[in-house]
Symmetry: C2
Subunit: 589 residues, 2 copies
């Protein structure tokens, strides 16, 4: 061992002890006759002191030769600090150096290794191993470690078994795009990396494993959006002999356990629940952020029929009430209008109505709506003097989605989205199917094994689009933490489902043959859920960005700029794999 | 919930209770007026009883309609059994059925779901989801789950952090073959799947994570031998500021913890240690099975110079003493000779010497060795009346390897390899380099970052082949459970090492550039170890076969016969990936 103690553990009770510590030089303050070195490791920072005449000349000289991020070993005596630092856990003491060994020097890092660094995103990605030294990054990965360990401990106590499922599986043409892996031993054939262990976990239920989980990497070859990663981690779970209520209770228990053990946060009572239909109506989102109100208000009855064509021709006129924002300037309002008109939001415009302190109203459509008409808006929206009503209109689904974005934006602007507040919400009764305009047929909203609600069975033949599924999501703070469903375990129902989705028997067999075969041999009722682990940890950490919670993330082009991957392949490798490239990129040697 | 209790938990104290259980029909014994159903789930088996006149006619009829592997739900009253079964945990009770619900029927499985099944290897692989129902298979996966959970718990208590490293990394032409993954977003470029997280864990040490671990899938595209899998699991660990002794102690602690918690097995004292050189001399193996003796005996001094050319021309004449085997028949001895002559072993022949009960000796080379000469063999080998001496000769490395196989074979034959005995052994001081005849240069025995022993530094320039490394393996029962090394953290030494291995500066940079760059910024002394998790669990389970301990294994051609993977790719997928196939296999579609 290179040390008797870590840099984080020495306290007043160690005063007088001879210790050895090792770590990285964080800072040196050299006052000539006396100098201090802050020495850092994963566990904390300890102050080393050297003073001419007190420590040997050799030690003094060595200490003076150290630079930022040098790795050193220091032997010395723990002494009481003259000036204590209550901000530091080791702030009562310092180490009077008696011997110093340089373990490794460092060239100057390209950015400072401090909580607030001077390095930009790009340079920190390239030198991720240095960024990982920074305290805020280490804290994020420590949280991740703790959440993963506590997940396992909890699930173990309620009889879940972790079972590893394979990574080299089979590509299915439907759904999102797979990453594929050419098989050298089977020329012309490919494995695929799993998008999720869905079929394997259902097989494990057929196999009688009863309660399965896995914290597992999944892969999706999608065009990356900001904060999407081609590889991501899931807490994947499945249970047999359960109904929806059992699944919800089990995983509500897990989430409560994680927040208690990892964030010291206790939730009051049960998580609230809301149907998908209600969530869409009140928030325009299937993962509403309920840390704040600002709920949707339907203005159809008070805003239509007054001659304003935009509203009159709209399927939905919907408002939110921005409390206390009547004093927004023209510039601020214009900025909001431009914000909703950006292509990412896609609104054609936005109407506002200020509820002035003097009791009058001022709207952008005064031509069509007199003071009485606007007063009706205010009553409907629960707006009081000083409030600002924001209105969007159009096709219901589109306008809801736009208003959801606007609501979240206003929530952020007004500081209503406290990163240290946590508002879970079960969203239930998702539709079983969604109509796809392009292919002119129904798609499964979750996947083809999701079961419809019993009470909607008779709608399957008449109005399939109205059938609700035993499918559920856990939302928190406007983010989807996870979701799942009770699966179909009845062969006839499964066949009807494939038919609804436009699968021929052959197609169904080609894609899901082994699972359908397995279902012939006694499949128990089962259901499950998967949490996005990166997203869960980020949310627990109070952050929107998952990338910060991944040790070695990829950028938005799917590249790891640190190791410079992906990279061209050698000619020999192409040959071994029976492949040729049609890309212009040259091969490596 | 479909049940109030699992099938494994009812006991005498539940007598009188009304319960609901659900599971699979294991067996039905129908005696006409009375019948018993054994109902099975992951937790155990419970007996259901139906009797005409005692249960309703409807229930009786339902029970009679059940078949093997049907999934049913049974409500009933827990009653005391007339004939108790002390072999079963639920053997004191049975459930008098009051209601039966068929949850799912089953067609007849292709093999029996029993501890001893009638299904062959191939059919069980194809229907792996049914094989997974069998008790012995479930027990293996339960052990795997427990070992993985206890590994994490233990490493957490000694400050290790689990950090996930990426799966989509970069291919390096050296070493074993990588599986590669074409990148659609980066035409002509490929990711590689990791053979191990080696470089990433070293980066984490540079980043100050101090103690890292991960239970992680690794991938190697090798021509598969029996019991090798293209994807396998490692417990991967690394520590900073440590010397070899620290690493050994830490992981000896882990292994002791695992055996204690998962096998209720305690080891006496410290694990024995042996140098690589000694292990090769005494057992001809770097992972000797020390559950039994039968150590190598060097016969050079007593067997050479007697005119027997085979011995006289041999670099090494080596014997083992098979206790009590002097009564081996001609046929048995011939079988042994044929066994060592198989291409897998490759010996040219085998000499034996029986130590007869009457004090005489009988060897296959009586022409060259008289009774006195053979008595010398016996003395050297510690052989007594009734023992059998087996002798191989030839080039030292080859003959050691052959004799190792013979020794293990004899150990198995003589029942000396108790699967419930566990004999750990640290093998230390591995050579740093091994000479490769083909490329006529040294290769790193572990990898180029393994550090040489300080006391052998001066041999680096003169006799590099004799330099020992700070490298170690943990062997158990003839199996390598894991291995690792203290890494080089000194730039000059690293450069010298690359030179020894015949790397140019450019080559070293191209392959290990980002790690070498990282080493410029203050790398701490570090070292680590990785355990083969599949192998560890199999050994703990007393088995030689890792495949049994993997939920969904691949066969020896790297195929998953259950899901029929790998499989041809569609034309569209080839196009998206900028690839063309040169294999004869047609594309899908």
């Amino acid at each position: 061992m290179y040390r008797s103690h870590t840099c984080g553990e020495l306290r007043a009770e160690n005063i007088g002890a001879t210790v050895t510590v090792a770590g990285w030089v964080q800072t040196i303050r050299d006052k000539g006759n006396i100098l201090w070195v802050d020495l850092r490791d994963r566990y904390g920072i300890v102050q080393i002191v050297g003073e001419t005449g007190v420590v040997s000349d050799e030690v003094m000289e060595q200490l003076k030769g150290m630079g930022r991020e040098f790795v050193i070993q220091v032997e010395g005596e723990v002494i009481e600090r003259y000036q204590k630092n209550p901000e530091m856990e080791t702030g009562d003491i310092e180490i009077k150096a008696t011997a110093v060994t340089l373990l490794n020097a460092s060239i100057t890092p390209p950015f400072t290794i401090e909580d607030e660094t001077d390095g930009g995103e790009e340079i920190r990605m390239k030198y991720r191993y240095l960024d990982l030294r920074r305290n805020p990054v280490q804290e994020k990965l420590k949280l991740r470690h703790k959440v993963s360990l506590e997940t396992r401990k909890y699930l173990d106590t309620v009889d879940f078994m972790e079972v590893e499922t394979p990574y080299l599986i089979k590509s299915t043409p439907e759904g999102a795009r797979d990453f594929v892996v050419p098989s050298r031993m089977n020329p012309g054939q490919f494995y695929a990396l799993p998008q999720s262990p869905q079929t394997f976990k259902q097989l494990l239920m057929v196999s009688g494993y009863d309660r399965y989980y896995q914290i597992v990497k999944c892969f999706r070859d999608e065009d990356l959006r900001a904060d999407r990663q081609p590889e991501f981690t899931q807490i994947d779970c499945e249970m047999a002999f359960v109904e929806q209520e059992d699944v919800l209770n089990t995983f509500e228990g897990l989430i409560k356990h994680l927040f208690k053990t990892c964030r010291n946060h206790e939730f009051d009572g049960d998580f609230p629940r809301m149907t998908y239909a209600e969530a869409m109506e009140r928030y325009g989102s299937d993962k509403p952020d309920i840390r704040f109100g600002m709920e949707f208000v339907n203005l159809n009855s008070v805003a239509q029929g007054k001659g304003f064509g935009v509203f009159d021709n709209a399927e939905l006129v919907v408002a939110i009430n921005a409390k206390g924002c009547a004093n927004y300037s023209r510039k601020q309002l214009d900025a909001l209008v431009n914000w909703v008109k950006r292509p990412q939001i896609g609104a054609l415009g936005m109407i506002y109505c200020k509820c002035n302190e003097d009791g009058t109203f001022k709207s952008s459509v005064d031509k069509f709506f007199d003071q009485d008409a606007l007063a009706e808006w205010a009553t409907a929206a629960g707006a009081e003097k000083g409030d600002l009503i924001l209105v969007l209109s159009g096709e219901t689904n589109k306008v809801r989605s736009q208003m959801n974005e606007l609501r979240l934006h206003m929530g952020t602007e007004l500081g209503l989205r406290d990163p240290n507040a946590f508002a879970p919400l079960w969203v239930l009764d998702f539709p079983l199917l969604e109509w796809d305009e392009e292919s002119e047929r129904y798609h499964a909203m979750h996947h083809p094994f999701t079961s419809p609600k019993k009470e909607d069975f008779d709608l399957i033949d008449t109005e399939p689009g109205k059938v609700r599924a035993n499918a559920y999501d856990l939302a928190m703070n406007g983010v989807e933490l996870g979701g799942g469903s009770i699966r179909i375990h009845n062969k006839e129902l499964q066949a009807r489902m494939f038919e609804l989705l436009g699968f021929s028997d052959e197609e169904a067999k080609a894609q899901f043959g082994f699972l359908m075969n397995a279902f012939e041999y006694g499949a128990p009722p089962h259901g499950g859920l998967a949490f996005g682990f990166d997203r869960l940890v980020a949310t627990m950490g109070g952050s929107d960005s998952i990338r910060d919670y991944i040790a070695f993330p990829k950028n938005n082009s799917g590249r790891d700029v640190m190791i410079d991957s992906p990279a061209p392949l050698g000619t020999e490798q192409y040959e071994e794999l029976y492949l040729e490239s049609t890309a212009k990129e040259e091969t490596a040697e």
